[in-house]
Symmetry: C2
Subunit: 245 residues, 2 copies
DNA sequence: TAAACTGGTCATATCAGTTGTCCATCAACG
DNA sequence: CGTTGATGGACAACTGATATGACCAGTTTA
């Protein structure tokens, strides 16, 4: 029988992992200075030498840079430092990004279907609110705001489906997407014309759900993801995986 | 800004968690004697006092029982000891079992569709092998064997879909199912007539995939899960959730 | 019935982490 | 421009966790 060797994690590794996750999740922006070592140690409830050991590890990996007497700063290029196992899967399998979209086509279609079927007035209000936020973001120069509203729109639909397991899975996948490990979503929103197209697709999904037309909602959601899939495939032709993922 | 307190796990807790997972996953059956402390300590690559501390924790929780000079044994009633977060979700939401099946209807339909579309000769051979194992198990009195083959059949189909993300999600959900936290699957297989029906449905899925008929495969897989869903709903009427979950 | 194997206990050594202190550098302010 | 405060850098001493090794008591097996 196979027994796994037990490896106890060093405290400094646990600290490093926590700080890395906080950086990835946006708690600290690139270029931002971290709280002082003394302050961080108190907040994380660890000793300063242990914290310093962790900070050193992150610095060695290029995530941070420290200046004697000046503080500790977050460096750029964070996305590719991720260590999440699923992210690792995506990174080791260039095909996985397309697989992800393919799965989402099915899941989002299902979510839209049941949202149209079961959504309450409150659900429809929430979906409309997130769609209105997309429309508002559409007028901005910065495409990342619209991309973020996009994620919120899909979560609202999954919530309206009233299927807890689906919501759990969709949330997990969207959280991964938010970390930008699948593909650079900004590419998707880079051109205003492309953004116009995405907005129309979102509008179709929204209108079908509000109208209570389950099958139309499913079709619209799947058409939307099929379009995203096509863009994904186009982008991959001639591109190194690293440039996209 | 909110900072999580860092809590380093004790070695004995890590050992306990590993042993618990092995027990839950069937590495040790109820009533079975564990390897000796000296042997386990070597295999897990930890010291004997640390292992003993872990075993003591599991004994206090009722998972194990030790006899001076006689060995350490696995006790019964393990399923309710689970701490997996998703399992906790299911336990706190009696509706989640039906949600799970509803999601699987979509995921299994998708898996069957792509398995029929993309499956290689090796994939079809693997699917046929697992289906043959179901047929062989069908003739046995013990329905749990057939239920286990059922899970392997669905995993083989997900593998044949050649979508890594789908496979990952399906594996995760099937692993949860294997832990029996969703519903007592034995109910599903309790009556020979019910088992006959499930076998026919599996056969329809198998035949459509082997024939390369993607849409028929999807329909068959979804019909199968719709039937399971119906049985789930019937069983829930008049039953306390705990009796089923 | 004795030997081997098991669980039970514990002294000692080693290692990881904490506490506390001090030094060097840098930034802000008067 | 000098001083002060805040920052990173370093380390000795201490504490707690874990490992090593040895021995005792109970059970099983040959």
């Amino acid at each position: 029988m196979q027994f796994p060797k037990i490896r106890q994690e060093r405290l400094s590794d646990a600290i490093a992992r926590t700080l890395e996750r906080m950086i990835v999740e946006g708690a600290f922006a690139a270029g931002e200075r971290l709280p002082s070592e003394r302050d961080l140690a108190i907040r994380l409830d660890v000793s300063r030498p242990s914290l310093r050991e962790a900070l050193h590890k992150l610095e060695v990996r290029g995530l941070l840079e420290t200046r004697h007497g000046g503080g500790t700063y977050v460096r750029n290029t964070l996305a590719q430092q991720l260590t999440d196992p699923l992210a690792d899967l995506f990174q080791r399998h260039p095909q996985a990004g397309v697989d992800f979209i393919e799965l989402r086509k099915t899941l989002d279609g299902m979510a839209a279907y049941y949202a149209a079927l079961r959504g309450s007035e409150a659900d429809r209000a929430a979906i409309s609110a997130t769609f209105d936020a997309i429309v508002a973001a559409h007028g901005l120069d910065d495409p990342t705001v619209e991309a973020e509203r996009d994620a919120e729109f899909h979560i609202a639909i999954a919530e309206a489906s009233h299927n807890l397991v689906l919501l759990h899975v969709v949330r997990g996948l969207m959280d991964l997407l938010r970390k930008d490990v699948l593909f650079n979503r900004d590419i998707l929103y880079a051109h205003p014309h492309a953004r116009d197209r995405l907005l129309e697709q979102h509008r179709a999904v929204h209108d079908a759900i509000i109208a209570g037309d389950a099958e139309a909602a499913r079709q619209a959601a799947q058409a939307h993801m099929a379009h995203v899939e096509d863009v994904m495939r186009e982008r991959r032709i001639g591109s190194a995986p690293a440039a996209v993922a």
